[in-house]
């Protein structure tokens, strides 16, 4: 392993992470809920009574973040290397997996670990593990 010092951005990572922590904290204290994006989105597909409004509002805030960011700073350029088939396969795996596993990077990774939930720690180790493995296979065994 060699650390990529060129692209390592410790301060913006910590600052951005702190903002994510603020968002999760606000949501827990004011709404009494976990800021788990897969759960919020998944629940919107079969909303219970009176349950759709806050879900849609949270997701709207997420989608609108680049517009707000663009008012004060230049938007970073995204690099999305996956092709069409890769994106579809990835989306299906993420959609099914996050619902079966009841959470993703936000719900288990951020909120769950912050709650010291053993369940979420196991989930995080699992998805980190296959994340590392998948990139290893793609980049170093298949050489894409």
């Amino acid at each position: 392993m060699a650390i990529d010092w060129m692209h390592f951005t410790p301060w913006s990572a910590l600052a951005g992470g702190a903002l994510i922590g603020v968002a999760a904290g606000v949501f827990a204290l004011f709404n009494g809920r976990i800021a788990g994006i897969s759960g919020i989105l998944g629940g919107l597909l079969r909303p219970a009574m009176g349950d759709a409004g806050w879900r849609a509002a949270f997701l709207l805030g997420l989608v609108a973040a680049p517009w707000v960011y663009g008012l004060v700073a230049t938007m970073p350029v995204l690099q999305i290397d996956a092709g069409f088939a890769g994106l579809v396969a990835a989306g299906l795996l993420v959609g099914i997996g996050t619902r079966y596993g009841a959470g993703c990077t936000s719900g288990h990774g951020v909120c769950g670990i912050a709650r010291l939930s053993p369940r979420s720690m196991v989930a995080t180790l699992c998805f980190m593990g296959t994340g590392f493995l998948t990139v290893f296979v793609l980049r170093h065994l298949l050489g894409s």
């Binding site: 702190a18 994510i20 922590g21 606000v26 990835a90």
Partner: protein, 137 residues
Amino acid sequence: MSIFSALLAGLIFGLGLIVSGMANPAKVLDFLDLAGRWDPSLALVMAGAVGVAFPAFRLAARRQRSLLGTPMHLPTARGIDRRLVTGSLLFGAGWGLAGFCPAPALVALGMAEAKALVFVLAMVAGMGIFNLLEARP
């Protein structure tokens, strides 16, 4: 009010993803590439987020109702079962495939990235497939 605080939380969450660089799949994949030139940034995003959220969840766990008076809906599940593990393993494989997890994909969708739209549609389809599998007797 709870709609407004949800909107605000989503907005701050999205801004955090942009500031941290995690809205960019290439940066996420550089974190997941342990055997290559490793970018540890994502670990610090997690550390920053968990560090700030930790006291908030400590306070939230002690409350019967939220600050807006709504019922608390914090998770009560404790079991570590096959569903949790299998689902998380599948999710990680998809995450490593494109570098997108749900929140960054939605932020990228807001940036009108066509590829993010493809991913999000497939993700929603995956969630729909899960619902169908769950509904089976």
